[in-house]
Amino acid sequence: MDKINLTIGVTGLNNTDNPGPGVPVIRALRESHAFNTRIIGLAYENLEPGIYMKDLVDKVYMLPYPTDGTEALLQRISYIQSKESMDVLIPNFDAELFTFMKTEARLKEMGIHTFMPTLLQYEERHKSQLPAYGKKYGMRVPKSVELFSLEDVSQKSEKYDFPYMIKGKFYDAYIAGNIDQAKSYFHKVSAKWGLPVIMQEYITGTEVNVIALGDGKGNMIGAVPMKKQYITDKGKAWGGITLDDPVLLETTRQIIEKTKWRGGMEVEMIRTDDNELYVIEINPRIPAWAYLAVAAGQNLPEALVKLALGLPVKPFTEYSKGKIFIRYSWDLIIDFNDFQKFSTLGES
């Protein structure tokens, strides 16, 4: 079968120690058997490593921050579209998703297809909404509550045993062992990600994650479970292994079926020593370890592009168990002119 030529915009090029999923998503698309891809990298900062990975990106453009609003984003995307004629755009940051979801129809008018969760799906799985989410969809979730002030930390702390988690609404999570630590983390997290901050019961056990893709009709197109084997001080996986765990897959399948999840997702779970499974987070996008799933036999970014374009997608039924990824750091050397060009012109 002839491959289809596609131009695909991808964000999340920050392949740092807290990596975005952009680079592994591009890597997956480059290995597609269905598409010949021209990749348009979309960056927010001029030192995102993916900008300078010329074997992965064909062209890169700077985007305005999500806080600048939808009009600023649309204006910029419109300019990029006039040059590149993107067929599909894959946003990879939690923090930008809301803006992209709000502009989905306008993007479509420009000829740009996306495949993102609906606003309801995105909103109701917020960490702060997790207890209600668990109740609605019949999942075991940790107790959690929103914090808006230091007084909240003190008051709500009385109902939680130490240690508990202090989490940012998009990213970051810290284990607070006492009230002073909790207050300190509240400041740290709120300064970075805004309010509310989330206080969450600490569940002891093994963290396991599942990458999955839902077709928006209740069907799970693919899913691969992974256990982190090496964790950075930011709690990110620096190494991980695919698991043979039907319970994790079934839990994920039920979430997708009940919510009719549309798009990529990562379900973060904790398995306690008593073998109870808690869903601790649902991330509304493909995770940064996506390439492990590709290597294990499920090219979920490629499947997501097919869904975005309305092409038929056959659900994956298999993947390799015991497949391991190990991240590494590599000093990418770039010419000052490349950096200067991107910094001043916002494209390169």
Binding site: T206, M226, K227, Q229, G240, I241, T242, L243, D244, D245, K321, G322
Partner: protein, 82 residues
């Protein structure tokens, strides 16, 4: 007691549990015991094979064998219903 069906082990003594992602290393005797357990040999058959092959007192073998089984249980490598 049976080793879980999906547990993978190599000739070099590497044991991998694909459900948890955990892996373990065995010495030569451990490799042999696991192999025999996977062949569904009974405890007495396994012990007599070891006693024949190695110069070891049966009481000491009993103790180490029990320790080994406890470890397999602790790491969830055995099917308790099996």
């Amino acid at each position: 007691m049976k080793i879980k069906a999906n547990i993978a082990n190599s000739q070099d003594g590497f044991v991998f549990d694909p459900t948890t992602g955990d892996s373990f290393s065995l010495n030569q005797t451990g490799i042999e015991i696991i192999e025999m357990m996977k062949q569904n040999l009974k405890e007495e058959e396994i012990k007599s094979t070891i006693l024949e092959k190695y110069d070891i007192d049966s009481n000491i073998l009993d103790r180490f064998y029990l320790d080994f089984l406890s470890m397999l249980k602790q790491f969830n490598l055995v099917d308790l219903n099996g």
